[in-house]
């Protein structure tokens, strides 16, 4: 197979580079495998004869192919990197939107902050069953603001209840002054964690209560402790809950800020 190539070269070398294009054309008609051997033979002969022009077709194509393939490689790499970055960006935005309901779920599960506790409703009072073996002592505390002149005190120092059972407790308030005084109260439950289980059905807090001069009234608190109190592992060692009320004087003309979750009738 080499012989016809050699013969072809000898026939060509006499005409030198004028027949370059013809050589090229001839070469392009060849099959790739044949071309490979052919070009090898051409190079060998060129070296021997000293032909300066070398049909460099394969080399040129290879070089441009190499350059092209490198550029393509870079381009594809850039594309994949860009795709990854774009996906990460979209993922971050998605996470920030999804975090709101996820955080709410997490708060309900863990009970942090107390506000996201699964709400208790009026139907629960009708259907709840008292947990008879868990007795909790509720102690009562009554305070007044320094400038408040009422005598405010609880009528019982403590009461023993069980979760799931409604209970009634009384406070007494007396206005010893000669002027009607309007008071408003708020409450506090200690320990704080137990406060989320302490549900008041009706009481005297958060509304203005007016006492005429020298008047004394009984103020009841009707409450219950959620039966789920018994199932909470964090409440396992809680035996005493302190309910503390504080009365402040409500001055005329001072508007109350709207309390969350409290509807004014």
């Amino acid at each position: 197979m080499l012989l016809p190539c050699v013969l072809r070269e000898f026939s060509r070398c006499s005409t030198l580079s004028m027949h370059c294009s013809r050589v090229l054309r001839l070469q392009q008609k060849l099959q790739p495998s044949e071309r490979g051997l052919h070009t090898q033979a051409q190079e060998f002969i060129a070296r021997r004869i000293g032909l300066r022009w070398k049909p460099q077709t394969r080399g040129i194509k290879n070089r441009s192919n190499k350059r092209g393939s490198q550029e393509d490689e870079w381009k594809s790499k850039n594309k994949t990197v860009l795709t990854y970055i774009a996906a990460a960006g979209v993922g971050m935005i998605g996470i920030s939107y999804a975090s709101v309901p996820l955080y709410r779920l997490y708060c309900q599960a863990s009970g942090l902050g107390g506000t996201a506790v699964a709400g208790h409703d009026a139907d629960q009072v009708a259907t709840m069953k008292p947990v008879k073996d868990r007795i909790i002592k509720i102690t009562f505390n009554a305070d007044t603001h320094a400038s408040m002149q009422w005598n405010f005190r609880p009528q019982q120092s403590e009461i023993y209840v069980v979760p799931g059972e409604t209970a009634l407790a009384f406070y007494r308030a007396r206005n010893p002054t000669d002027k009607p005084v309007i008071g408003i109260s708020t409450y506090n439950v200690v320990p704080f964690d137990a406060g989320q289980y302490f549900n008041k059905i009706q009481c005297f807090c958060f509304e203005e209560q007016r006492l005429n001069p020298k008047e004394e009234v009984d103020m009841p608190v009707f409450f219950y402790i959620d039966p789920e109190f018994d199932e909470d592992p964090r409440m396992a060692r809680v035996d005493t809950i302190v309910l503390s009320y504080t009365f402040f004087e409500a001055k005329e003309g001072q508007p109350l800020p709207p309390l969350p979750g409290y509807s004014y009738k």
């Binding site: 208790h120 709840m128 009634l168 708020t186 439950v189 008041k200 005297f204 509304e207």
Partner: protein, 95 residues
């Protein structure tokens, strides 16, 4: 009062009562029932479970005298007291 300087996540948040606020009993219309209830508590070493009947009577008095919105007793957690008749049998029913 829970102070604002409490940085732990478990600060206390007061919640409004379910049924709002009791109107004040200026005229002492239910004072008798209240006294019965307090006496019962004192006799039973402040055990609420034994004095539920008296508390039901007090709330019933309040409802009768327009001092409380009328509610069926089940909604106030007195479903077991409603079926039985006064005290001695009531204690047996609660057992």
């Amino acid at each position: 009062m829970s102070t604002a300087m409490n940085f732990s996540s478990k600060a206390f948040k007061p919640r409004a009562p379910d049924k709002g606020s009791f109107p004040l009993d200026h005229f002492g219309e239910c004072k008798g029932f209240k006294d019965t209830f307090m006496k019962c508590l004192r006799d039973n070493s402040f055990d609420n479970s034994l004095c539920r009947l008296q508390s039901k009577d007090y709330l019933q008095c309040r409802m009768d005298n327009q001092l409380m919105a009328k509610e069926p007793l089940e909604k106030l957690g007195f479903a077991d007291l409603k079926e039985t008749s006064p005290s001695p049998e009531d204690k047996d029913a609660k057992e």
